[in-house]
């Protein structure tokens, strides 16, 4: 026994442990030299587009093929099947590789699948195929294959990429991430409201008919890709992001919001710091029936909830710091050229406040008419006035709770100086 202990001690002595470690490293590393590269057995999928056509799921994937010249080589493959799993398998069968989704950063969902419900697709992709929940989620219009091809063209162009477009949306339009996780959080919330950016696939004919940034109040910031030609015809397809946002209820596409509506809704959102207000007919000692474009520099929002005689009150105090961007006037007064003058006159402030309030009232009506809680009314009342709100919900029901709320708005505008 003593000899055995001595032997064990000598085997596990620190010096010999290093030797053991070297042997282990050799055991594990040498056999791997004989193995084929992972890229030969697995396709690196960077984007997956899914839609439903005639009861069949159609998928198109962009597959990254590593190349020696350091240029990303994207190829588009498509397949279809009765279920998403079969459709994905059909792509694997076609390319002779397993589809690897660990690097899949974009999930695009077509119109039909959005109408039918996207939860099954998301569940399959995140649970079975291990797509990261931070993958960008976008809705799209048009054919799956054409859309995917147009995205690949965008990627090759380098200057425009779908993830960059959605990132821009996050900062200035949607003001929240459009990814699988945020969609899940919205879906599993009591109001079951999911939000995602929507990009459109358009032809060159449609593209030429769109007026980009026609006026400041109703600008449709569109972005286009490089051209792509499909089937050898001169049928160029473009990706266009016009700021449309798709709303989903219970995982199904419910309604689309235009850029204008989204911007109005953003007045209630603290994250959306930037913005523009356009007021018309400003007349005072400086302006003469002027159209004034005002940029928002800073926005502070305070939302308070209370109950009065059983009526919920949702009051929003908005404090804006602005500067005047453009003054459009037929015969501008020379006063406009004077320095050391505050151009944010009382008349202008009143006009801005009126315009802001009317925009906010409009979006409240939009929410009430369409039964979508974009302002987070449920969340605020549930968190801050829980008992009273639950009593109120029992009275009016979850479908009508937005209608009985008294929305109070207080806006204060101040100059950057």
């Amino acid at each position: 026994m003593k000899e055995m202990k001595k032997k064990l001690k000598s085997i596990f002595s620190p010096k010999k442990l290093v030797l053991w470690l070297c042997i282990l490293i050799l055991i594990f590393t040498v056999p791997s030299f004989n193995k084929s590269a992972m890229s030969q057995t697995q396709a690196i999928v960077t984007m997956l587009c899914v839609d439903k056509i005639d009861d069949k799921i159609k998928v198109a994937a962009t597959v990254l093929t590593p190349s020696q010249d350091k240029k990303a080589n994207f190829q588009v493959y498509s397949g279809e099947g009765e279920t998403l799993g079969y459709a994905v398998d059909s792509v694997s069968l076609a390319i002779g590789k397993e589809m690897g989704f660990a690097q899949c950063k974009i999930m695009a969902l077509g119109e039909n699948i959005c109408k039918d419900g996207v939860m099954q697709v998301l569940d399959y992709m995140t649970r079975t195929k291990k797509v990261g929940r931070n993958a960008v989620l976008v809705a799209f219009t048009g054919d799956v294959l054409d859309f995917t091809q147009a995205i690949v063209d965008l990627n090759l162009g380098k200057s425009l990429r779908l993830d960059k477009i959605v990132s821009f949306d996050k900062r200035y339009i949607l003001t929240q991430d459009s990814n699988i996780e945020t969609f899940y959080i919205g879906y599993y919330s009591p109001i079951s409201l999911g939000i995602m950016s929507k990009v459109k696939l358009i032809t060159n004919e449609t593209f030429n008919s769109i007026q980009v940034g026609s006026n400041a109040t109703n600008s449709s910031g569109s972005s286009s890709s490089t051209t792509s030609t499909t089937n050898g015809e001169n049928n160029e397809k473009f990706i266009m992001n016009d700021g449309t946002v798709s709303l989903f209820k219970d995982g199904k596409h419910y309604i689309d919001m235009t850029l204008d509506e989204v911007k109005k809704a953003n007045i209630f959102v603290n994250n959306a710091q930037k913005g523009t207000v356009v007021v018309e007919g400003v007349t005072d000692h400086i302006y003469n029936n002027a159209k004034v474009v005002v940029n928002i520099l800073k926005k502070d929002i305070s939302i308070k909830t209370s109950f009065k005689d059983g009526v919920p009150i949702y009051s929003t105090d908005v404090s804006l710091t602005v500067y005047i961007d453009e003054v459009i006037e037929e015969n501008p007064s020379e006063k406009l050229l004077r320095r050391n003058q505050d151009f944010l006159t009382n008349a202008l402030i009143v006009k801005i406040e009126e315009k802001m309030e009317s925009d906010m009232r409009e979006i409240i009506s939009y929410c009430q008419n369409n039964d979508v809680d974009l302002l987070g009314v449920y969340k605020y009342f549930y968190a801050l006035e829980n008992k009273k709100f639950e009593e109120y919900l029992e009275k009016v029901g979850i479908k009508n709770y937005l209608d009985g709320i008294d929305y109070q708005i207080d806006i204060k505008v101040k100059s950057e100086n």
Partner: protein, 375 residues
Amino acid sequence: MKVNYRQLSIMVFMSFIALKFLALPSLLYIESKNMSLFVALILMIVDGLYVFVLLDLMKKSEEKNIYEFMKSCLGPVLTKAILILLILKYALVVGNISKGLKFFVVENLYSEYNWFVFVLPLMILIGFMIYKGVRNIARVSEMVCWAIVIGLIYIALKALSGVDVLSFLPIFKDGFKPLVNSAWIHISWFGSATFMFMMFGFVDFKDEKKSKMIKYIIFAILIVQLLYFVFYGLFEVTCPTHNYCISDISQFSSTYSAIDELSWLVVSMWIVAQAVQLALYSYCIAQALKFLFDIKGNIVSIIIVMLYLLAWSFLGENTIKMEQIFFTPFASIITFIAQYILPLLLEIAFAIKKVNKNKKKVKNERNEKEVKVNI
């Protein structure tokens, strides 16, 4: 080879945070929803208080190891029964860490990763650390501690802007029952001070400063609370679906890459911290086995621990579901007794022993006096 008071404080700190950042936050959320923060807070404060009970016992033990101390207070039979209980508690912790590490490495960090490649060097490392003794573990803890702290704070702060504070309201909506339920079910993830039983006789109290230990405990509680605050505020209703708290937070805060480069470093450092904890609790098993079976030398107990680790790594997944052991009343009872009853029992036993000793002393003195009077 003794550890100094500072090293012990760091070991306590590491033990407090080690098991908290994988599956625990999502499991807590299932029962206690947005109040899970409070469950962790209350149990960690209780753990913190017990650190001082154990420190008090350590001082009272007068440099005796736990076996000798318990034997002197409780007798040999009860001592051996308690040692078995402690081994079970340590085995649960080791099993939980190794299971967590396995799933984290195999499922989350790498796809199709051969666990064998990871576990064998890890076993050798742990065997070596046990062989070198507790001071070695303490020194490694000292080395990695601040890197881990900075990393965890970095991950939390990076994602802090996405936290929705409203998701924590209203508080205590369903009363305290869910909190108590959740605390009882998941108590086996806590009891972070139990390793201190095996530190009896191995701590040098020369530079003792209670404030130092308090600072480390408060710091550990704050870090766990910060990470949990970010986790619950970020994921809200989807919390139960996030089994890898630390990597999921970093993944969510970096929108267009799986985990950004710096977070990779943090996650890697955190794996090192887990390995150190694995070594610490494996050391505790080895020590307890030594006391229980009166084994001389380290080799035999190290081999037993290695075999246990190996068993968890290769058999555990298919034969025994970890959840079946770790989330049962069995695990809760073991932790509850080992962490919360045992120190009090030892305090009482020591007090009784002291009283008896004093009585004996008084009796002896009286007898002596009587003898003198008679003379």
